[in-house]
């Protein structure tokens, strides 16, 4: 589904990603973990070109997104993204947040977009909030709406950039539960997270990044019980 080949990203002199190569298969749930500043968010944001890679190739669904000729807008319609700080559109109601892109970008009829939106809101347990504005929602509710908004485009891949890091502790679970049920539907997911329990339980694979390098790529049981690298051992010691 997503293939990354020797991905480099520099900010001026600072090299954030130092050649990452990996593949995410369709239906796979991949947790991307690592200390802050390890480049994991940048890595994720390269996948839908919110960050422009300095060099290397990224294929999403067979299309090379780093190729200038690729219609990146078209690719992004197929790659949902959930941000740490939600970024809901504050001037639109919850329902409008969900239907905006399907109507304006995909050209869906309003009735059809509404139906998809209500189904999704039902799935994330927020049907009754359809006509509220985002400011009236709690953090956990906002993030569930943000997930539903991304899903409303019916993407093949979902990217999560620290989806629970900005939440109050008591709201983390409701968001993780939604993500868990999404994983069970067979959605391809790449999740940058600090929730080790979640990564262990839900992910099919763990990518451990440190200093812009993909240090470990392993099954969760393997990674959490028997990390190979010293850096992963140190990291886990601090986290667990």
């Amino acid at each position: 589904m997503i293939k990354v080949e020797d991905l480099h990203k520099n900010y001026g002199k600072l090299e954030v990603l130092k050649g990452i190569t990996t593949t995410i298969e369709a239906g796979e749930v991949v947790a991307i973990i690592g200390p802050s500043g390890s480049g994991k968010s940048t890595f994720l944001r390269c996948m839908n070109l919110l960050e422009n890679p300095t060099s290397g190739k990224i294929f999403v669904g067979g299309q090379d997104v780093t190729d200038k000729k690729t219609n990146i807008m078209k690719v992004r319609q197929n790659v949902g993204m959930v941000f740490q700080h939600f970024h809901l559109f504050p001037h639109k109601t919850v329902l409008q947040n969900l239907t905006y892109a399907p109507i304006k970008v995909k050209g869906l009829a309003k009735a059809e977009a509404d139906k998809i939106a209500f189904d999704l809101l039902d799935r994330v347990g927020l049907k009754e909030k359809a006509n509220e504005y985002p400011t009236r929602l709690s953090g956990g509710q906002k993030q569930r709406v943000a997930i539903a908004r991304a899903l409303a485009m019916e993407p093949d891949v979902m990217l999560f950039d620290e989806p629970t890091s900005a939440l109050d502790p008591e709201m983390v679970k409701e968001v993780l539960d939604v993500m868990k049920s999404l994983a069970h539907t067979g959605m391809t997911m790449a999740i940058v997270t600090h929730e080790m329990g979640f990564a262990r339980e839900v992910a099919d694979r763990v990518l451990f990044l440190d200093g812009g390098v993909l240090v470990e790529d392993a099954k969760p049981q393997e990674f959490f019980t028997n990390p190979k690298s010293k850096r992963a051992q140190d990291f886990l010691q601090k986290m667990l």
């Binding site: 839908n48 807008m73 970024h87 001037h91 905006y100």
Partner: protein, 219 residues
């Protein structure tokens, strides 16, 4: 102080007609200036350097010279510029629109740049093209935040419109002045003009508050 307003009562309809003249100039110049301001602000944040340079130069010139000079340059310069003498009205609307466009573009630019970058990223991640993102996501939020500043600009425009009297437009100011000249008494008609301007500005302020309240309903 002996004020005699009574002698001006017959002239009141004449002065009041100036309201429509002033309003016509302010509303048209306001609308054109607003559209121009949006375009210039988009130039300023554009990735194309030339557009940004153009908009900055434009703003610099129109903010850096007196409005009354711009008005006169356009009015008296029109025969040499375009070959015929334009109406004072046209010159007034044109100069005010061009001038306020410069100020409004700065207001809108600041408003756009104050919007969280995440809004743009969220729209991009959904595959929303730039033009739709600007129009549907960024500008509505920016406009809400800058409404007080925009209102201020329109209020300034309303008051400053009095200088069109210098090229002979029959606005409130000029009519009051003429009435004063006819009666050899300027103080009262000018006070009346002042009151009319003030009431127009108060009305504008009130309308601005109403719009602002409407736009705040999502808070």
């Amino acid at each position: 102080m002996n004020l005699d307003f009574a002698q001006f009562i017959p002239s009141m309809p004449y002065i009041l007609k100036g309201i429509f003249v002033t309003l016509k100039i302010v509303i048209l110049a306001g609308i054109i200036g607003f559209i121009l301001g949006i375009i210039l602000s988009l130039f300023k944040i554009s990735k194309y350097k030339f557009l940004g340079w153009f908009a900055d130069a434009y703003t610099s010139i129109f903010r850096g010279t007196p409005l009354v000079l711009q008005l006169m340059l356009i009015y008296y310069g029109s025969p040499q510029l375009i070959g015929y003498q334009i109406e004072p009205y046209t010159a007034a609307i044109l100069s005010f629109a061009l001038n306020s466009g410069a100020y409004i573009s700065e207001i809108i630019r600041a408003g756009i740049q104050a919007i969280d970058k995440g809004q743009q990223e969220a729209a991009m991640a959904l595959g929303v093209p730039y033009s739709k993102m600007m129009w549907d996501i960024i500008l509505p939020q920016a406009l809400k935040n800058i409404l007080p500043a925009l209102m201020n600009e329109f209020i300034t425009l309303t008051k400053e419109s009095a200088i069109v009297t210098t090229i002979g437009v029959m606005d409130i100011m000029r009519r009051s002045y003429q009435v004063g000249a006819e009666n050899y008494s300027f103080f009262e008609p000018l006070l009346i003009a002042g009151l009319i301007y003030y009431l127009m500005v108060v009305t504008l302020t009130f309308l601005g508050k109403v719009v602002e309240r409407r736009m705040r309903r999502s808070d």
